[in-house]
Symmetry: C2
Subunit: 361 residues, 2 copies
């Protein structure tokens, strides 16, 4: 089978050029006589790979010098727990805005440590909108305000950065980072599992405004201490070197393609194609998110019944489109349109959707 | 440059056959039309890879059914912190035996959470021996006893499993797991970063006696809860799929090669070659560990002066032997002889050592 159109929500499609380079270097990296996955993280060779990846990510996202960048093992969930441990005292107030499944997961991770307050929630409406900023009930003594920039399961995305005053804004950008220009200086902390828009699974990126590292936080192991990780350039312990290397290849590819403004253009094009097919289907396909809050990254959509949904999954797979099953929390179908997915793949999906409707509508 | 003899301490050499398979499958895994790193961890395809890896590891290590097996992101250090959080109450007694650098790191991770007691230490003697069992001062009320089965930096290895009575024995096996038969039933918990004897960096294996999961532990995020990970088959969050897959290829390779009894034979042969070259050098090469505690996995050794050490590193590299620099904590040289390293590589090192001594001795 040839490579297919891959709409997986994460782990997700990688650029073929990145995979080809990793393949070519799998037994022997850059003249060292071994794979990059076989050499010390403290070797001059890997240190250069690591530094280059950070420099490229800083260029890609225009990260200011007063923000530190970490590459840490695992995904976003571990970071969610570390937010409270590092930046809030025991039982201190923290404010969370709830816009879907991942906002709730973020709260679950910090509940043992802090006084969590839901400042706003769109749960009553089935997570189909972002709560208007003027309805948020923020507390002046909160250690931080947390938002989920894009909800991978519910398909809801913040389309601008909310103003939250002097309290630092923390954001889970796992599924939308590097898909459009971002003013990092507006955030106290940004975190993202890499397996959607940044590259491979197994490594997370954390971008922290350095002055926040002075906070005492609460008792924690050294391995849970962001300050210790920053002091050791993410090499406090053995980092996931291969994953870091592959993310670096992806950063370089993204820069070569034109950077985040180009990915903003492509994301708009891809998501307009798919929403267009849904909205022009006369109700055959449905997406319930209000247009202003629709995600450019993850588009959940629904057919009239489960028989058609099952048929859609089988036939789309046979047509070379995979990863379209909706998350079990909401069911239905979902198309994820991350940076590595070409516009032509979104077009292929839309062509299939129209053809499927003609046969089954 | 061709592939070299790689004595790295971790990340370390992988079998060429494993790398070649990963290379062949990099763009397209098993007919799915995408790389294994590009598909959902909840897809039927990856679930099968994950289940196969666990089954093969259970066979390889003869893990009894009353022990659970986890595959978790990151390395051993995170697990060190989780031991206290999951198995000891706040401030409860835990006993640690200190035999080198990594024992001390293990203590550092739990100090914020529990009452740590050093039951025995070989630090006064420069970590050249294992403290005799009859000198250990164990506490009957300890939540567990912790040992480091092999010290990667100091080159000291437990050559049998100590008896510790009714208190569960926990062990860091990062650098010696699967290198010889092991009676898992004697341990309450075994953990290991995979990047030495089990495969790639970025994933850790944790083997837990299931009855211990009933312990309350102390307040912690769900992502730090072993019970939650066991309940979800290590898929509480997105696991490091590629790393898990590569570890699985390594497990299969180890089984195909003859399993742990074969690796015990090879480890004995490799380490006897290198210790033999040291001990027969008339003091030109020195290793200070008492013979009964010498590691079969990591052999630190020293030349008469730093000029010779620097020359050895440059010339050995030119001769196609890499990863021989000692850890900065102890200096000198170090040869790591993990499962993926062929006996012929140890012979190549010994040949080089003898030739180097003839020119410089």
């Amino acid at each position: 089978m040839a490579r297919v159109h891959n709409f997986s929500a994460g782990p997700a499609a990688l650029p073929e050029a990145v995979l080809r380079q990793a393949q070519a270097e799998m037994l022997e990296w850059n003249g060292v006589g071994a794979s990059i996955v076989e050499i010390s993280h403290r070797s001059a060779e890997f240190m250069e790979v690591a530094a280059r990846a950070e420099a490229d990510l800083r260029t890609l996202l225009s990260i200011p010098d007063d923000h530190a960048v970490l590459f840490l093992a695992g995904g976003a969930t571990t970071q969610q727990a570390l937010l409270a441990l590092n930046f809030a005292g025991p039982g201190q107030a923290v404010d969370y805005v709830v816009t879907g499944h991942w906002s709730k997961t973020a709260i679950k991770q910090v509940k043992p440590y802090v006084n969590v307050h839901v400042a706003a929630s769109s749960e009553a409406g089935g997570f189909t909108d972002i709560p208007p900023r003027d309805t948020w009930q923020l507390r002046a003594d909160a250690a931080y305000v947390h938002i989920t920039a894009n909800e991978t399961i519910h398909g809801v995305e913040f389309r601008d950065t909310p103003q939250v005053g002097k309290v630092p804004l923390f954001a889970d950008f796992s599924s939308s980072i590097a898909s459009e220009p971002l003013d990092v200086s507006k955030y106290g902390l940004i975190y993202a599992g890499a397996q959607k828009n940044l590259g491979p699974v197994g490594v997370a990126v954390v971008i922290i405004r350095r002055d926040l590292l002075e906070r005492a936080g609460q008792p924690r192991a050294e391995i849970f201490d962001y300050r210790a990780h920053v002091a050791r350039d993410s090499m406090l312990n053995t980092p996931p070197t291969w994953n870091w290397y592959l993310a670096g290849l992806m950063f370089r590819w993204m820069l070569d393609q034109g950077g985040v403004s180009e990915f903003a253009r492509r994301s708009a094009a891809k998501s307009q194609l798919v929403y267009g097919a849904i909205d022009s289907s006369g109700g055959f396909y449905r997406n319930q998110v209000v247009p202003a809050a629709r995600s450019r990254m993850n588009i959940p959509f629904f057919l009239p019944d489960q028989t058609l949904t099952a048929r859609f999954l089988i036939e789309s797979r046979a047509a070379g489109l995979i990863g379209l099953k909706g998350h079990k929390a909401v069911g239905g179908l979902r198309a994820s349109l991350y940076n590595a997915l070409p516009v032509s793949d979104a077009q292929a999906l839309v062509d299939f959707m129209r053809e499927f409707q003609q046969r089954n509508g």
